[in-house]
């Protein structure tokens, strides 16, 4: 636990990882996440950990691959183009069952895009991102408080299931300042049990091998199936969401991260005008909180997805409601909507609900 302090999102994220026991950071500069490596450059040595400014994002993620194989808590961070470069290494970590943690402070894309907030990396994040058949656990904070507190959850789940875990943020969450209180005591890495697969001094035990390949006929499928069993278990047990004002709502907004803050503002405007509007916020994007959303669809709710991309989150919403409810999309591609704009869309959709009633 900590006092309430005022912090920038990126710094809260970095400090949150250190407090969660991270003792290895490798990264490469890219806006809008530069505060993370800058913070780690002094904070890691202070905490007895290692900081490396790598020659590229590709090198940084491979440094993590090596460091994580020794069983310690590691982190890298980047923004969209840099995360694309890291996908090779993330896929290897997934294939070698290494529980790495990384953050994507998303910017506008595709290509070099811009440095403003966007949510265009939803599909890349929630579908694994690199080559091969795997997923990573994706947490989507919507405040500086969550930026700081989610790294610890990422480590715990990543280690429990031996899969990579990430935070999907954006330029606004990385750059804005808000009060934060850490909801956990700093973790002493010495208290984290050394995993049975970790590389190191092998005296008195069999040698260990970390790898992501198996060329023997049929063996890779067996290996992958074990991992997929764990994915199923994650989907069953680990999805998280926040539901607000849904009981009497006729229309439920679905939004994550920064969009969910804007959607909450639009929802307040709607409630003031007497429109019965609620908010469903996925906190984990993978596993997606399908059942929680499906339960609302069963109750006859209508949905309006608000995302800063042109139809990525909406696909998961439609899969979850499975034809049982109508789902509209208010998307912006590398543009941040004002609450008023979302409210105007709410009014439009709400009229169609009333017309149908």
């Amino acid at each position: 636990m900590s006092e309430k302090i005022l912090m920038k999102g990126n710094e809260a994220l970095a400090e949150g990882a250190v407090r969660a026991g991270c003792r290895f950071f490798a990264g490469y500069p890219i806006t809008p996440q530069n505060e993370v490596p800058e913070y780690m450059s002094w904070r890691q040595p202070e905490a007895g950990g290692a900081f490396i400014q790598a020659e590229s994002e590709v090198a940084a993620i491979n440094m993590l691959y090596g460091a994580a194989a020794t069983g310690i808590r590691t982190m890298t961070s980047s923004s969209s183009p840099g995360i694309s470069l890291k996908q090779e290494g993330i896929s290897y970590c997934a294939g070698a069952d290494l529980p790495i943690f990384y953050a994507n402070v998303v910017r506008g894309g595709p290509g070099l895009g811009n440095i403003a907030a966007a949510q265009g990396d939803y599909n890349q994040s929630t579908r694994g991102g690199g080559h091969g058949d795997y997923r990573v656990i994706v947490f989507a904070p919507n405040s500086v408080e969550e930026m700081g507190n989610f790294p610890k959850r990422c480590y715990e789940l990543a280690e429990k299931y031996r899969v990579p875990a990430m935070i999907l943020a954006d330029a606004i969450l990385g750059q804005m300042m808000e009060p934060i209180a850490y909801d956990f005591d700093p973790v002493d890495p010495k208290t984290i049990p050394q995993p049975a697969w970790a590389l190191g001094v092998s005296t008195g035990r069999e040698r260990r091998v970390v790898r992501s390949y198996d060329l023997r006929e049929g063996e890779l499928e067996k290996l992958n199936n074990q991992r997929i069993q764990r994915f199923r278990e994650i989907e069953e047990k680990e999805s998280r969401c926040e539901i607000r004002d849904a009981d009497d709502a006729r229309l439920i907004l679905v939004a994550y991260g920064t969009s969910s803050r804007i959607a909450a503002g639009a929802m307040r405007m709607a409630r003031e005008k007497g429109l019965k509007v609620g908010l469903f916020r996925p906190i984990t994007l993978w596993p997606f909180p399908k059942k929680q959303l499906a339960a609302l669809a069963e109750k006859g709710k209508r949905f309006l997805v608000v995302e800063m991309s042109m139809g990525q989150l909406v696909d998961d919403v439609r899969l979850a409601v499975c034809g049982k409810a109508e789902v509209d999309l208010y998307g912006r591609s590398s543009g941040v909507p004002a609450a008023e704009e979302v409210f105007a869309e709410i009014e439009r959709v709400y009229k169609t609900i009333e017309a149908n009633a």
Binding site: A59, G66, T203
Partner: protein
């Protein structure tokens, strides 16, 4: 009866799947002998590359990790910074180290990471079936330069030891060969020095070993050894390029 020689403890007792006349088996054994002699097996972590030597993770009797193509030095960096008490070596071929992994090679040297790299230069991509490598000689045929490497189209071979010798962080650079018995003995000395440097905290050490690929060169093992001596050595002269004593 007197036992003259035996399998090093640092080598797993299983048949290697390298081709007849290939140099990987020789260099594997030399590394294993050095690990035995320096008594470092139990604290050594090796990195297997992508390429023929991907199977090195089955052959070395120590903790091993297999990594992405060319990223060995970055992986070694991550391990060494997390476990400074361990001895970390990266085993890489020419496509791995001098092509796709060039940035990782140069920057780990520039940082003078306290790691050991064993670099096998056989002037060809072996595992994928004989394509042109960054170290393929001018005029040398490969499956992607069937008429021979042409400088106008394919550029020139890269000399890694000479290139890295510009960097202050590259503390030990030596090029040897395993095409002759004498070369094997010299290679072992160089490998030993590259590990001893790490034990002594001297920084980045790399041994470039000129080696044979009879299968993809289309030559017999004997002809291949001759190819190293007569064709490769003029382009890749043997010797010490940097030492920590400098």
């Amino acid at each position: 009866m007197k036992l003259l020689n035996k399998r090093p403890v640092s080598l797993v007792d299983k048949p290697m799947r390298y081709c007849p006349g290939c140099g990987h088996g020789i260099v594997h054994r030399l590394i294993a002998e050095v690990m035995d002699e320096l008594n470092i097996r139990e604290k050594t972590i090796g990195i297997a590359p992508v390429g023929c030597a991907v199977f090195a993770d089955e052959y070395f009797n120590c903790d091993m990790i297999q990594g992405a193509h060319g990223r060995g030095p970055a992986i070694a960096t991550g391990i060494k910074r997390s476990k400074p008490e361990c001895i970390v070596f990266s085993y890489q071929g020419d496509g791995d180290l001098a092509s796709i992994g060039m940035a990782e090679t140069i920057h780990s040297a520039a940082r003078s990471e306290n790691i050991t790299i064993i670099f096998i230069n056989n002037a060809i991509y072996g595992m994928t079936g004989g394509q042109m490598a960054p170290t393929t000689l001018l005029g040398q045929a490969s499956t992607t330069s069937p008429k021979g490497r042409d400088s106008k189209v394919n550029g020139y071979p890269i000399r890694i030891c000479e290139l890295l010798s510009q960097l202050e962080g590259a503390r030990y650079l030596e090029r040897t060969s395993v095409s002759t018995a004498g070369g094997v003995i010299k290679t072992k000395k160089a490998v030993r020095k590259a590990f001893q440097n790490q034990i002594d905290g001297k920084g980045f050490s790399l041994v470039e070993v000129l080696s044979m690929c009879p299968t993809n060169w289309g030559l017999s093992p004997l002809e291949s050894a001759k190819f190293v001596d007569e064709k490769m050595m003029p382009v890749y002269p043997l010797g010490v390029f940097r030492t920590p004593e400098q």
